[in-house]
């Protein structure tokens, strides 16, 4: 049979690195096709070839049986291939409508026809369930809404095939559900979706077929209905997923105590509202909740970059509510930030420089105001090896790495300091299965060694897999605190929407 889209024997090299080697991908019309693989498996390269951003060294692309020569994204768009990048390409100060029309003005002959544009976009909105206010500026939108704008942009440009590059990595569970509804509507209307993701659950839920890449080669294509999640995982990482080794709970004395804590958010008064909890050494406390319920403000107050309005924070017996970031770090606090690009890395600096931040001014690396780069390089190479960061060397610019590798730099930096307490925010967001597994095991090892871990995550699977106790945040307060044994996804879900006590009674 002939395929809607076929990539045949694609090979792409970057210098001595082979990113794609004889990759084959066949997409049927009107299907949701998941493209899976670890970070660095060659998915992005392949999709960039399809989108005309890169030209393959060898191989051919066929669209409805016709051979395509894509020299630029413009060519791809004209052929009806659209792409929604993981990092959105939108102008924050412009409105939704302007962003969609930019470079592709409404088809009036002379003037910019706003009315026509609005009519066309509103048609997409109803048909594909993409509610976004058209006259709002991009900077005022949520991540989920921005993604809808990107999808609309592709549709407006006539896309028949839409590539979604890790679309759920930064979405809340609710937004993910909404995205899936849109994807189904697109499929019903004859669009073809290529869906890139690391999350097995989502892949199983939304895709019709799955193609896995590993180390730049095609592993195979399967029908989703005919495989189990474990089989897909094996295709991706080439082995079975290891069971997490979780030692029995040996909680000791309190490491972190938060009492009656109030913290203001950027736009609202009580983002964290009289919150109290204790985190003991040797335990993992999961903070669950829909994003935007005070998690960000709480962690920022805990690490010391956001002022505390009232209430106390005690770290290993010392009052740190007014202490600086560094003071808390010196007490043994480490932090894996939720937004790795903005809060966890200096992208222009190299890997080594990113790895030593925080230890750069103390022996062995810091020495009376000077930095001993030779020691730093040694230490970095060691960390790169231990944490399996894929890079030519420690001098590589951090911004050149893939998302998963960036996260590994942060984890390596924070956990190599032998912290006594770790605040981990969305530690595996956008990170592939292999790396996730590794990061999870690291957190469990900290716990086994008597460290305390506060795990803030929107991913309930992650929370349930690691936590000893779970606190659900709702509107800045604890709507529930439960032991792991008592928690279930359904119960947590109800707490997440503030259905506190009644949920417990029903359970």
């Amino acid at each position: 049979m002939s395929y809607e889209l076929e990539l045949k024997n694609i090979t792409k090299r970057f210098g001595s690195v082979v990113a794609n080697q004889d990759v084959n991908l066949q997409i049927e019309a009107g299907e949701v096709h998941a493209l899976v693989g670890e970070n660095g498996a060659g998915k992005s390269t392949l999709m960039n070839i399809l989108y005309g951003l890169l030209q393959p060294d060898e191989g051919e692309i066929f669209f409805r049986g016709e051979r395509l020569h894509l020299k630029s994204p413009q060519d791809a768009i004209e052929r009806g291939i659209g792409m929604v990048h993981q990092h959105f390409m939108l102008a924050p100060s412009m409105t939704v409508a302007e962003n969609i029309a930019v470079g592709w003005p409404p088809r009036g002959k002379f003037a910019w026809k706003n009315a026509d544009l609005a009519r066309e976009l509103e048609a997409f909105q109803t048909l594909f369930e993409l509610p976004v206010p058209l006259e709002t500026r991009i900077r005022d939108l949520s991540v989920g809404q921005m993604q809808r704008v990107e999808i609309m942009k592709s549709l407006y440009r006539g896309a028949k095939i839409i590539v979604l590059d890790e679309p759920t990595a930064t979405l809340t569970p609710q937004e993910t559900d909404e995205l899936f509804r849109t994807i189904r509507r697109l499929r019903e209307n004859g669009h073809t979706i290529i869906f890139i993701s690391h999350r097995l659950r989502e892949i199983m839920e939304i895709s019709d077929r799955i193609t896995a890449l590993r180390s730049g080669r095609t592993v195979g294509t399967v029908r989703t209905a005919e495989v189990t999640p474990a089989e897909v995982a094996r295709m991706m990482i080439g082995r079975d997923v290891a069971e997490l080794k979780k030692a029995p709970l040996q909680a000791a004395e309190t490491a972190l105590e938060v009492s009656e804590l109030c913290v203001a958010g950027d736009s609202r008064a009580a983002a964290v509202d009289r919150l109290s909890f204790q985190l003991r050494r040797g335990e993992i406390l999961g903070i669950a909740g829909v994003e935007g319920n005070g998690q960000t403000e709480l962690t920022e107050a805990l690490i010391g970059v956001r002022p505390v309005q009232s209430g106390g924070i005690t770290l290993f017996g010392g009052d740190v509510a007014r202490a600086g970031v560094r003071q808390r770090m010196d007490l043994g606090l480490a932090h894996i930030p939720q937004d790795r690009m903005r809060e966890g890395l200096a992208l222009e600096l190299n890997i080594m420089e990113n790895l030593v931040v925080g230890t750069h001014d103390v022996p062995p690396i810091g020495n009376r105001g000077l930095i001993r780069w030779r020691k730093a390089a040694q230490w970095s190479r060691d960390a790169i090896g231990r944490f399996g960061i894929k890079t030519p060397d420690e001098q590589e610019r951090a911004g050149n790495l893939s998302g998963g590798n960036m996260q590994k730099i942060i984890v390596a930096r924070e956990l190599s300091r032998s912290p006594r307490a770790v605040i981990a925010c969305q530690p595996t967001r956008g990170v592939d299965i292999g790396a996730s597994e590794y990061i999870h095991q690291q957190l469990l090892d900290i716990r086994a060694a008597g460290g305390a871990v506060l795990l803030v995550s929107a991913d309930l699977d992650e929370i349930l897999a690691l936590s000893d106790r779970i606190l659900v945040l709702f509107n800045g307060r604890a709507s529930g605190v439960l032991d792991r044994e008592d928690a279930s996804e359904a119960l947590l879900g109800r707490y997440m929407f503030g259905l506190g006590e009644e949920a417990r009674h029903e359970a």
């Binding site: 970057f14 690195v17 990113a19 970070n39 660095g40 060659g42 998915k43 992005s44 390269t45 960039n48 951003l53 890169l54 990092h87 730049g216 690490i303 970059v305 600086g324 970031v325 560094r326 770090m329 932090h335 930030p337 903005r342 809060e343 966890g344 890395l345 200096a346 992208l347 222009e348 600096l349 190299n350 080594m352 420089e353 931040v357 925080g358 750069h360 001014d361 810091g366 105001g369 000077l370 930095i371 780069w373 894929k390 890079t391 001098q395 610019r397 911004g399 050149n400 790495l401 893939s402 998302g403 590798n405």
Partner: protein, 358 residues
């Protein structure tokens, strides 16, 4: 001593290539303009070149201008590196120059080396203080340092003029000389080329370049400054005192500008003259742009700017081409430097796509 091969020597080589490409493009564009004006392009460029490099005196004039541009270029580059935009180099330079002149004509009984050292220190302090004022306003009130530093230029120029005309007015001089008393003879810097204005200032400036380079690469505070310049939020999240670093980088930038002022007074003018120089600060920003904010590339960029300044003097004297021709050329170069964003945006795209395969 190779802390970072990509940030150090290799980056300089890359910058050098980029620099040459930019300059070549600018000269080409400028040639079109000259052709439109009916000038002989070859002749103009030849005069420009010989005016900058041919013969001892022309080359001395090039070095004379390279020397202050080293410092203002460094001052601008280091500010950009730390993420603060110091557009107030001119003002800081004036404050430093006046402080140096004051030391030079006040403590006339001190021996030369001591007097020079004292004058330089006073100038660094004055320039740094003036820059920190802007830094403080930024940090305390959240004002944009771009506007503040720019406006403080006018304040500094007029304030030093006031000092010259009133508190330090020298009776008996014609008021249109608008200058302070002369500095002590022993405070003059040693000429490197006898009879020219090339003095030890050039060596001091080069030393400053090396020191600043070593500072950014090898010290904790220099590293933290680059960290703040690269991502201040990350720096804050990692326990770096961001505001303190920003104030510090302002002070260093202003101090270098002040030192430049001192060397101009001690090396060239011998007293503080109202409006004794114009545009050194902004030419410094061009130098910084050309150098890609890399201290090690600053000398080359400064030499180029110095040669342009020197060559254009010759152009005016001999070539019958107005000096503004050189200004136009500089303008085109600045535009070309900023346009370099085009290819680098492309590179960014490429990087993003490559990121997936690493």
């Amino acid at each position: 001593m190779r802390p970072d091969k990509r940030g150090g020597v290799r980056a300089v080589l890359k910058n050098l290539l980029r620099l040459l490409a930019i300059i070549a493009a600018a000269f080409l564009l400028n040639a079109v303009i000259l052709l439109c004006l009916g000038k002989n392009v070859g002749q103009v460029y030849e005069t420009l070149f010989t005016g900058a490099f041919a013969g001892k005196w022309n080359f001395a004039r090039t070095l004379r201008w390279t020397s202050p541009l080293l410092l203002t270029g460094l001052a601008a580059a280091i500010g950009f590196r730390g993420g603060v935009f110091n557009l107030g180099i001119d003002g800081q330079l004036y404050m430093g120059a006046f402080a140096a002149a004051w030391v030079g004509f006040t403590f006339t009984s001190l021996p030369g080396p001591l007097l020079i050292l004292l004058a330089a220190l006073a100038a660094v302090a004055a320039g740094a203080a003036w820059a920190m004022l802007a830094g403080w306003i930024k940090i305390r009130f959240g004002a944009s340092e771009v506007v503040i530093t720019l406006m403080l230029n006018y304040v500094a120029k007029l304030f030093t003029e006031y000092l010259v005309m009133y508190p330090f007015y020298v009776p008996g001089t014609a008021s249109d000389s608008k200058a302070t008393a002369n500095i002590a003879q022993q405070a003059h810097l040693t000429p490197l080329i006898q009879g020219s204005q090339v003095t030890a200032a050039l060596l001091i400036s080069l030393a400053a370049v090396v020191l600043v380079y070593l500072w950014t690469r090898h010290t904790v505070s220099g590293f933290e400054t680059r960290l703040v310049g690269s991502n201040d939020r990350f720096a804050q999240f990692s326990g770096v005192k961001v505001k303190r670093r920003q104030l510090q980088i302002m002070a260093i930038s202003g101090g270098l500008a002040g030192l430049c002022g001192a060397l101009e007074i001690l090396g060239v003018h011998g007293r503080f003259v109202v409006n004794f120089t114009s545009g050194l600060g902004f030419d410094g920003i061009t130098v910084a742009l050309l150098s890609g904010n890399n201290p090690l590339a600053v000398p080359l960029a400064a030499l180029f700017m110095g040669a342009m300044t020197s060559g254009s003097t010759q152009l005016e004297m001999l070539g019958g081409v107005p000096r503004s021709m050189a200004s136009i050329l500089m303008g085109i170069i600045i535009m070309t430097v900023t346009i370099k964003q085009l290819p680098s945006v492309r590179a960014l795209f490429r990087r993003r796509t490559e990121a997936g395969r690493t």
